[in-house]
């Protein structure tokens, strides 16, 4: 199984057809073959969360799945979520709260935060911390990130009310 294999899936709504080596992980495929460099590679063993993307609605570590496993899937990266406006309010909250410094964790952090907010309308600070505890940030100390997510949750809840 070292020959390239054909795969077809959608990335940010666009169909992608490619020949990929079976050993190529999805993070490297997105970055190196599609140029979607917003998906960051921090540890390459599924711990840091920088490569978090959405596959068929669930957040996954793209360094831990192979490109061939994405066959038939619907993949969303930070570029797609940004362009669709899906996380615009969350990004605004991150900006206003300075919830990012170097920004390397931020795409994955936004993915994880949006996933939480999709599941829970009013998460507590502890619940936010728990849900983001698979995403490593070396710069902020997390406090500002928790603030930004909490602010976004409250604003969304108010909009719904």
């Amino acid at each position: 199984m070292t020959q390239p294999m054909p795969v077809s899936f959608t990335v940010n709504g666009e169909r992608v057809d490619a020949l990929v080596l079976p050993r190529l992980n999805l993070a490297d495929f997105l970055r190196d073959q599609l140029g979607l460099t917003g998906t960051h590679v921090g540890c390459e063993h599924g711990v840091c969360g920088a490569c978090t993307i959405r596959v068929d609605g669930d957040i996954v570590r793209s360094c831990l799945i192979l490109a061939v496993q994405a066959h038939g899937a619907d993949v969303q990266t930070i570029e797609g979520l940004s362009d669709s406006g899906d996380v615009a309010d969350l990004q605004n909250a991150f900006r206003n709260r300075n919830a990012l410094q170097c920004g390397f964790c931020t795409p994955g952090m936004l993915m994880a935060a949006q996933d939480l907010l999709a599941q829970q309308v009013s998460p507590t600070r502890d619940e936010i911390r728990e849900h983001l505890s698979g995403n490593y940030c070396r710069c902020t100390g997390y406090h500002a990130i928790v603030d930004a997510v909490e602010t976004t949750a409250k604003a969304r809840a108010e909009r719904r009310a």
Binding site: G38, H45, Q91, C102, F104, N135, Y136
Partner: protein, 796 residues
């Protein structure tokens, strides 16, 4: 006020619509949040190849032979290069500084030649069309070794029976410093109580989320090397690459775009990076190196790894009579280039006892070689050690004489009206605020209520502790840090500002951005002084071709030094603009001001001419200006501190935590910081620097540890086994400020980047010991793992 018509009494900092002291969002965050930043790992160039390094599996060995024949025939392989082959295009270096008397180290090559000195040292470079193919080929390189006994334990590194790592140096002692101030023996003799303790600090590392990465592009047609690198000091890199590749500085351009975390990790000269530059020259094409996580753990500089014996003399009334320390640190096999690996121990000597009045202080620091990865300057260099030793000793003294930790600090901290003064070690303090900071902290944390809560919970078998740690922080370093020792590291920074034809402002600064907010603080200062809105100011950083020459961002110097240069450059440009305006309006510069991008009457504020109209005239219709008048809408200023070698800041931190005496787990409940960085340019950015710094200190206090075995093997070189602080374990952190501006600059700003890290571990350790006080247990080692806690409680 004489500067160009300012309203009397207003400094440049509090002009109308000033951004100084205001929380405004950093410019250009959208790029990062949308995944559209440009980190080195993202950059791809035509004909780019990837390098992977074959690394030593042994801590100390002779390389007898390297057979790369099979590897060279592998798919995609462009070259396999050994250290000896690469030495044809790059010279070795020695990491010493002359002001650290006696510091010695051995020549280090970009790739090891004949011998390896730590597990992870590169022995060969494999260049291929992809990183995966290079890794495949690396597995096929066969190396014959003669394994040698490694020097692992720093405690025995100087023993006669221990092998000497570099024979030419004679022994394993890299550096020793002794200091004796006041009358130490007499002071201890006359102390009512003398308490001694040994403090142990685990090795840890920076774990930047983006690993080290470099892309070197030698263009043989231009004879120019363009280096894309995540670095804190582009001009330093330019100088050093030129020196060792036998090039002129003008042949090298270092470009630093987005950087995924630095913290001191990315301010050093790594052999891998130098090798990548040399390989590009050798192979005449762009070569990219991106460390993987294992390589990051085994080759990014480590830090700390100190064993420090401490001693304090105290009288029953609480007067601290003397401090003494004997510090030992293991730095790996080489002193790192060019900043050296002796600075941390040197800082420990400088900083112990620093917040306190006692003039009696003795210190010895010894820096030894060992066969582990190199250590060097990481965020808050030496501060966490000095602070933990000092504050640990102060708490032990308080405990011995039965005094509250707050009271002993009140008695002994340097008074807020005692400045300027100097510490026992000779550090010069311009203006600090230890007592104001302590008072503010106690109010923020509601100290008395917390003590009552602690007592009540203890009745129920819940063990909570309160820990305090006062600290001082070295910021805004002048040439005293590196330049005087012969390092070609600029302590000066420069800023160039110009007004363009449409009224927008271009600002080039030599400080760099790794997320601290260098771009924001520069735009805030320039916007405020010029009188234009921040969004009109475009800041360019991280490009040796396009910024003034300067030091970059490290040692908490960006705001204080780069910010002052920005302020001074903006003042000159403002004066120049007003001269043009006066010429156009037939007025005098002193009668005019700039507000909101418009030239106005200084008195009354009537609008006279918009800057874009002024610029239009300057660039497109200079013929309409008075004869002989030449506009200068570009100004450059540089700044370096001259009065003080460092602008010391101060602060205090407190921790409130719970120790589970059955599991040894420590739960952080609350954390408070009050710090004084002088003028605050952007409160939010300062607070976030503090919080991020605190959490790095908490990581060191509780989790982070590079664990080596007796053969010099790093046993936890991955993120599953090396624990870093994650959101779930970290507390919210409350930050307060005192403000004692430095008078050396008009801006008055001191650094804030390292204060959080300086004191966090110390106050956590003090809190743990406070929590465990009913058990008569004192722990003076970090990280404070559950095992360590249970062992101390004799429950393991």
């Amino acid at each position: 006020m004489s500067d160009g018509g300012n309203i009397k009494g207003l400094s440049v900092l509090d002009r109308p619509n000033s951004y100084i002291g205001k929380t405004v969002p950093r410019p250009n965050l959208d790029r990062l949040m949308q995944g559209r930043g440009q980190y080195v790992t993202d950059i791809v160039l035509p004909r780019m190849a990837h390098v992977v390094f074959l690394r030593s599996p042994h801590a100390r060995a002779k390389i007898l032979a390297i057979d790369s024949a099979t590897a060279k025939a592998m798919p995609g392989v462009i070259a396999v290069v050994t250290g000896r082959e690469l030495a044809e295009v790059i010279t070795p270096w020695v990491g010493v500084l002359t002001h650290l008397k006696g510091l010695k180290s051995a020549p280090q090559h970009a790739i090891a030649i004949d011998r390896v000195c730590w597990q992870g040292e590169a022995m060969a470079a494999i260049v291929a069309s992809s990183r995966a193919l290079a890794e495949d080929a690396a597995e096929q390189v066969i190396v014959d070794y003669e394994e040698l006994t490694p020097v692992v334990d720093m405690r025995t590194a100087l023993d006669p029976g221990t092998p000497v790592i570099h024979e030419s140096l004679g022994d394993n002692l890299a550096f020793e410093r002794n200091l004796d101030a006041g009358a130490v023996d007499d002071a201890f003799e006359k102390s009512d109580e003398v308490i001694e303790a040994e403090f142990v600090f685990g090795r840890h590392t920076g774990v930047t989320l983006e690993p080290r990465a470099i892309l070197a592009d030698w263009n043989a047609g231009e004879s120019r090397l363009t280096v894309y690198q995540g670095t804190q000091a582009p001009h330093m890199m330019q100088n050093i690459i030129a020196k060792h590749l036998d090039l002129q500085e003008s042949q090298i351009r270092v470009l630093c775009k987005d950087v995924g975390g630095s913290f001191g990790i990315k301010v050093h000269v790594y052999a891998d990076d130098m090798a990548t530059c040399a390989l590009s020259k050798l192979l005449r094409r762009p070569i990219k190196f991106v460390a993987d996580r294992v390589e990051s753990f085994t080759t990014d500089i480590h830090a700390r790894d100190h064993i420090c014996k401490g001693k304090i003399g105290v009288n029953k009334d609480g007067t601290i009579k003397a401090f003494a320390i004997d510090d030992l640190t293991g730095i790996g096999p080489y002193s790192m280039y060019p900043r050296t690996s002796a600075i941390e121990a040197n800082q420990v000597v400088n900083l112990v006892g620093g917040p306190y009045t006692t003039a009696n202080y003795r210190a010895r620091a010894r820096v030894v070689f060992q066969n582990k990865n190199v250590t060097c300057q990481y965020r808050a260099v030496g501060h966490p050690i000095a602070c933990s030793v000092t504050e640990g000793l102060v708490d032990l003294a308080a405990q011995r004489i039965g005094m509250d930790p707050v009271e002993i600090r009140r008695l002994n901290l340097i008074r807020d009206d005692a400045y300027p003064c100097a510490s026992a070690s000779g550090m010069k303090f311009e203006a600090l605020s230890h007592h104001a900071a302590l008072d503010k902290l106690l109010a923020m944390m509601n100290y008395d209520r917390l003590r009552a809560e602690q007592a009540a919970l203890r009745e129920r078998g819940i063990y909570r502790g309160i820990g305090l740690a006062s600290f001082i922080e070295v910021t805004n370093p002048a040439a005293a840090f590196y330049g005087v020792g012969g390092a070609r590291i600029s302590s000066q920074d420069g800023v160039t500002i110009r007004l363009d034809a449409t009224g927008s402002v271009i600002c080039q600064t030599s400080i760099t951005e790794q997320g601290q907010g260098s771009e924001s603080l520069t735009a805030q200062i320039v916007g405020s002084v010029l009188g234009v809105s921040m969004d009109k100011v475009r800041v360019i950083l991280g490009d040796t071709d396009n910024t003034p020459y300067g030091g970059g961002t490290w040692a908490s110097r960006g705001a204080g030094i780069g910010g002052e240069a920005a302020l001074q450059a903006a003042k000159v440009l403002r004066d120049n603009i007003l001269k043009v305006a006066a010429a156009i309006l037939q007025s005098t510069p002193g009668d005019l001001d700039i507000v909101d991008g418009k030239v106005v009457d200084a008195v009354g504020g009537a609008e006279r001419i918009e800057l874009n109209e002024l610029a239009r005239i300057v660039y497109f219709r200079p013929d309409t200006l008075p004869p002989g008048f030449q506009s200068e809408l570009m100004a450059t200023r540089h700044f370096v501190p001259r009065d003080y070698p460092f602008a010391f800041t101060n602060g205090i931190q407190a921790s409130w935590l719970e120790v589970d005496v059955n599991t040894g787990f420590i739960t952080l409940l609350d954390h408070w910081v009050v710090e004084d960085c002088g003028t605050i340019i952007n409160p939010q950015l300062v607070d976030e620097q503090i919080r991020g710094g605190v959490v790095q200190g908490l990581g060191a206090a509780l989790y982070e540890h590079c664990i080596y075995d007796e053969r010099g093997q790093l046993t936890n070189a991955n993120m599953a086994d090396y624990l870093v602080p994650m959101a779930g374990e970290m507390p919210d952190i409350q930050v307060g400020h005192c403000v004692s501006p430095t008078m050396e600059t008009e801006l008055g700003a001191k650094g804030a980047g390292e204060a959080g890290t300086a004191g966090a571990a110390a106050c956590v350790a003090n809190a743990v010991n406070d929590a465990l006080s009913p058990f008569a247990v004192t722990i003076t080692e970090i990280p404070l793992t559950p095992k360590l806690v249970l062992t101390a409680l004799k429950r393991f």
